[in-house]
Symmetry: C2
């Protein structure tokens, strides 16, 4: 039995249902392989989609931002939120224009957010930081009271979610396979470049371990 999120009209993948997934074992890795999401919320029926960093722990997504941020001020009211993470994995080139596609992994999360304070606030910040760059939190100068006061941390408990995944080559119409048109996949991924030290870096300080770990994964 899969550990599924509840499925209804809100999160059900309608188009190409076989690409839809609702189990945590599929959705968590998609969420964990990124740290940038697009958060959707509405104010007076006007939707906003804002890119922001996040961190996941179990069924909770932590978001952080300035206390003055419009997004944070709206989200902390507990309005409905949709949070989407997309990994583009490649272009899928078919023989027909119609059957062109992309390979991707995306996760769409539904829930509402609420403010956290105290220990959980600091832990939320650490979880976001760890998701962006493992071990950087412990390398950094820790937040002081003034900085914590300027920061809002929200937890969004996942009510529902779905993933949509496409992999593999093009699927053309039977009669199109004979056409003299190249078809295939051009894969892509986000790649890290060489670390650039701050020009004000004190001489003699070695590149951070967190960065070395990131670049050694290349």
């Amino acid at each position: 039995m899969k550990n599924n999120y509840p499925i209804d009209v809100r999160n059900k993948v309608k188009r190409v249902p076989k690409r839809g997934h609702y189990d945590r074992a599929t959705i968590y890795p998609i969420l964990d392989a990124a740290f940038l999401c697009h958060v959707g919320f509405s104010v007076d029926e006007q939707p906003f989609v804002i890119p922001t960093a996040y961190g996941r722990k179990d069924d909770t997504i932590y978001l952080h931002g300035a206390t003055t941020s419009r997004m944070m001020l709206n989200l902390e009211k507990g309005i409905p939120v949709c949070l989407t993470v997309t990994h583009l994995d490649g272009l899928v080139l078919a023989r027909s224009a119609f059957h062109h596609s992309m390979n991707y992994r995306s996760a769409v999360v539904f829930g509402t957010a609420r403010l956290v304070e105290g220990e959980e606030k600091l832990e939320g910040l650490r979880i976001v930081s760890e998701q962006i760059l493992k071990d950087r939190w412990d390398e950094s100068r820790q937040p002081i009271e003034k900085e914590l006061k300027a920061t809002t941390v929200l937890r969004l408990d996942i009510d529902q979610a779905s993933a949509k995944i496409r992999t593999g080559g093009p699927g053309d119409e039977k009669e199109d396979y004979a056409l003299p048109i190249w078809a295939g996949v051009v894969p892509c991924e986000l790649k890290w470049g060489e670390a650039e030290a701050d020009e004000r870096l004190t001489p003699g300080i070695e590149t951070a371990n967190s960065v070395k770990q990131l670049l050694s994964r290349l």
Copy 2:
């Protein structure tokens, strides 16, 4: 005089206003350097954020999808839409946890969509295709009537937009520069890998020019 979109509370960048831009000369290149956006819309106060391909021409964004797609069916009603494009350019590692940031270019577009038919429908499809992979449209077997009927093309005229851009190294508190903590930037970008021919490709067909052009830009 800059060729700005109108600015009001909807598109004004509140947080770090100096990173906000409203002129087409800044916003168009951000839109043109991607082909995947996140479209936000609301149904009964529930926001949805869906990743999808797009193409821009002047102040119009074309979207395409299956006629049965929930997003397309809702968007064609002319409801308010927010369409966001984000390029992640790097991690900005400061000495303090608080001053960590990212380098990025994002564009947030507001407008409403409407269905297009006939010549503009085909032209909209071509514009989306060209944005994804230049010259692929002409290489491909063109759409037939049945395929066009299964496809919805929408044009979203940009009412308002804003861009937000961060570049450069970390900005730390004065007293933190002396800390023995590495600081700097780790750049990143989406990279294309080697093209993988479809296993059913007729032997002897050379890699498409569109793909060669894409890969020669690396």
